[in-house]
């Protein structure tokens, strides 16, 4: 080989050696590259592949509309609208000093310095950064129309819950909020992820699993500019089911109007089916406040309001029943054969039990009266004696039969069950025996006993329908997105073991209460009402609560009603008057005939 070399001698050998050294160096350099690439691809390949995928692949959640809530006629109580956010693409705004100032002319609320900071911190310069949420529609339209002036603006839309009836049904439908840790774990919130909105109270909470629906999503591949290059997989969003409530918006509105500015409850129901036709609990709140993101001030105002607007007192308020409880005492006495309807007691205005005098509301006394008269005039002294004769045991037993002291099973979260006192309870709690005076107090619905308005609706409905305890409900049917009815409420009723003669007696007596007794203010020209009033004295200097529970028409009951006015401001018995106005307005409408 060496013969072929042109030069001879030392120089040539040095040249040859140095060429080989250079060759060796270059070989070594390439070896380094090979090792380095091997390290990147074979040892760390998986990590880099994942990095590549996380920068390219995105899971875009597709929000689904929450199920609608309608009244019995399909009128909207809750639906969804869009909320718009204005965002900018950092890459498009970088070279435009004026962009944010121009945007501020349209959206005066934005803070330029804060926006600059947000844009600077954006993880990807090609992805939009939201500068203002809940932008009103006219501004959105303005920006969209001037796309050329605002090429850096992107409008993002998000579904938002909307309650067209506002505060009319606030504490009935409830409100939405982000799912908390407990809810995320609970089974009824299956498929709910952190950050999702779920029903926090009311119907929204009770039927959350139906209303929620299912979020869709798509996995997409995006290029470095954030443009979608391909959709890898897609799952369409599943809208929630539609709830059709038993509520009739017309009746609801009438009931609300007649209550005016008072605190209290109106419940209207169908005594045969358990349909709740109207449920007014005042004060109330506008659930739209929550849907659009409630401010801290507004929240503390609502949550610390003395009237508890967030609570539904029709289902979660507990009150002494007052004289309305006399219905139960009368039924118990008759059924147990303690008296006959014709049995009389004498009222002198007060009655001595033990060493204490129990007064009648009528100080001068009612004189001698029979049971019907005692109910019509709501004589307390008659019922002290009747109650003592009947005994606490039977009174409590019949209270249970009429549904008191236990939840009615209405489809509403955390129903309260009221309270029925017993001698053994008293002994345990106060270490005191049950005195006859306790029985006397109980007989007129005062003392320890507590009931909820919905229990009273159940009770009066049982009287109206001839002795059946019907489970009340708010949701009449549930329809899925394809229009299939997946739930239809069937009346759930229990016959109370009360004889027909007792029921007939109560019908007559309650009719006369309105005709000529304490409920006369409910009397009107349109419909004949039967019912019972109640006035609950409150400890301290507060005004009494005022009850009216009844049904109409008196001879053929179609509707039962409960009116409770908390701490009435009028000196008169206002609850029967309100009930009378509500029922006359309802019966003035043709549709009642179709009930």
């Amino acid at each position: 080989m060496s013969i072929k070399y042109r030069l001879i001698g030392k120089t040539n050998l040095k040249y040859e050696r140095r060429l080989k050294i250079i060759g060796g160096f270059l070989f070594f350099a390439f070896l380094i590259i090979l090792i380095r690439v091997g390290w990147l691809q074979i040892v760390q390949g998986e990590k880099f592949l994942q990095l590549s995928q996380t920068s390219r692949l995105r899971l875009i959640p597709l929000p689904n509309p929450r199920g609608l809530i309608t009244d019995e006629k399909g009128r909207i109580i809750a639906d969804n609208t869009a909320s718009f956010s204005v965002a900018v693409v950092p890459e498009n705004i970088v070279h435009r000093e004026d962009a944010l100032f121009k945007l501020k002319e349209v959206l005066p609320k934005i803070n330029i310095e804060a926006c600059k900071e947000k844009i600077k911190k954006a993880p990807n310069p090609f992805r939009p950064v939201v500068l203002q949420e809940k932008v009103n529609l006219s501004k959105v339209v303005y920006l969209l129309e001037r796309e050329q002036e605002f090429p850096f603006v992107v409008i993002l839309a998000q579904p938002v819950r909307n309650y067209p009836q506002g505060a009319l049904l606030g504490n009935v439908v409830g409100y939405l909020g982000e799912a908390d840790k407990k809810e995320l774990k609970s089974l009824s919130f299956l498929r709910v992820e952190a950050g999702d909105l779920v029903g926090k109270t009311g119907i929204e909470k009770m039927y959350n699993s139906y209303l929620q629906g299912e979020k869709g999503g798509k996995q997409i591949e995006v290029d470095v500019y954030g443009r979608v290059s391909r959709i890898i997989s897609q799952k369409p969003p599943q809208p929630g089911d539609t709830l059709c409530l038993s509520i009739n918006l017309d009746m609801q509105r009438i009931a609300r109007e007649e209550m005016g500015g008072r605190k209290g409850v109106v419940l209207i129901g169908n005594p045969y089916t358990g349909d709740i036709l109207a449920i007014v609990s005042l004060p109330s709140f506008d659930p739209n406040l929550f849907a659009r993101g409630i401010s801290k001030e507004k929240w503390s105002e609502l949550s610390s309001h003395p009237g508890d607007p967030l609570e539904n007192r029709a289902i979660r308020g507990e009150y002494p029943p007052g004289s309305t409880f006399k219905i139960v005492v009368a039924a118990a006495a008759l059924e147990e054969g303690k008296i006959k309807p014709s049995s009389t007691f004498f009222c002198s205005g007060a009655y001595k039990v033990g060493n204490r005098f129990f007064k009648c509301w009528k100080e001068q006394g009612h004189g001698k009266l029979d049971l019907e008269e005692a109910i019509v005039h709501s004589c307390d002294v008659y019922f002290y004696q009747l109650g003592l004769k009947t005994g606490v045991k039977d009174i409590i037993r019949y209270s249970r039969l009429f549904g008191l002291g236990r939840p009615t099973g209405v489809d509403f979260p955390s129903e309260k069950k009221g309270f029925l006192p017993t001698p053994s309870w008293k002994k345990q709690t106060f270490k005191e025996p049950w005195y006859p005076g306790d029985t006397a107090n109980l007989s007129i619905g005062q003392g320890y006993i507590l009931v909820t308005p919905i229990q009273m609706l159940d009770l009066i409905s049982a009287v109206a329908n001839g002795g059946y305890l019907v489970r009340p409900h708010l949701v009449k049917k549930i329809v899925d997105v394809n229009g299939n009815v997946i739930f239809n409420s069937l009346p759930i009723r229990d016959k109370i073991s009360v004889s027909n003669s007792t029921i007939d007696f109560l019908h007559k007596a309650l009719e006369k209460v309105v005709e000529k007794g304490t409920g006369w203010r409910a009397k009107n020209k349109i419909v004949k009402i039967a019912g019972k009033t109640g006035t609950v004295e409150i400890a301290g200097n507060k005004n009494p609560h005022n009850w009216f529970i009844g049904y109409a028409p008196a001879d053929n009951p179609l509707i039962s009603i409960v009116v409770l006015v908390e701490n009435r401001e009028e000196d008169i018995s206002i609850a029967p008057q309100i009930a009378g106005k509500i029922l006359s307005r309802i019966f003035a409408r043709e549709e009642v005939a179709n009930l």
Binding site: T11, Y15, L19, Q41, K47, S55, Y225
Partner: protein, 354 residues
Amino acid sequence: MQIYKGQIDRYLLITTIALSLWGLFHLYTISDGGFFYYFKRQIIWVSSGIFLLLLFYLLPNSIWPKFAYFIYALTAVFLMVVVVKGEVIYGAKRWLEIGFFNFQPSELAKIALILSLSKVLSNQEQIKWKTVFSSFGLTVFFFFLIAIQPDLGTGLIIFSVWLILLFISGIHLKKFFILIGAIVASFPIFYNFLRPYQKMRILTYFNLHRDPLGAGWSSLQSKIAIGSGELFGRGIGGAAHTKLRYLPQPLTDFIFSSIGEEWGFIGVALIITAYLVIIIRGISIALREGNSFTGLFAAGFVSLIAVQAFVNMGMACGIIPVTGVPLPFISYGGSSTLIFLSATGVLFALNKGR
């Protein structure tokens, strides 16, 4: 196989053409990422390059030593024109617009310099300081013309090629190390003349993830592209990171990364093998030809290919700063493709002998 003088080196020929065609095919496989236009243009460059290779092989080889200085002077004129009025692309003036072709004189400068250096340094029994300085003068003149474009990468590559040629031609080691020492000592002065983005690139090299959207972005995306190729690559047409443009400059500076993503470690190993074949064949020509013009040209040319390939691959896999030099024979680009294929033709011509 024994290669005789006058016979074309088939290994070298096959390897260079194979690399060019592979580069072309690779361009096609990623062209649905919006690069089809470049693929079509590259067909023209590769075919013209192969034509020039054959043309220069057939031309009388005596023209190269004879016109070496002339070519150098012509290139110098081009370079000066670029400095005065060149196309500004990516913040640098590197191009001369000739019809539909943006010519990059710095690519020509590499070969022009090797031709001149081969002439200066060939057939010297002893490299005198005078020779050292004249070769230094030739190199540093181009270096500055190129570095102020600014194209520091190419500048440094021709500097390395000069040092390699000086070393091979038998410079006394003492002189060589004095020279190296002087160059290293001048680095801090030189650093001050760097453009901010060049300083940034050198700095980010030392802390890659500090600024992923700024200067470190290219480097990081390049590593992701290479790494995600794993052993067998993502398959032909499967280079998603490249196609979705996460990898910047996927046809030129970072074509190695897109090859790594698509062809995996196997593909990278094949490319490196191809370059090693070129180095071995080039050095064996140089060994046979001695420190003649042909020998030094062969050594200089393969050193250029090797150094440039090393710099390109090294920056793609994140072991040297991002400088922006093409991968010889593979990267998209008219000037680079034409020059490398033509110079291969020149090498074959010189190897014919007189």
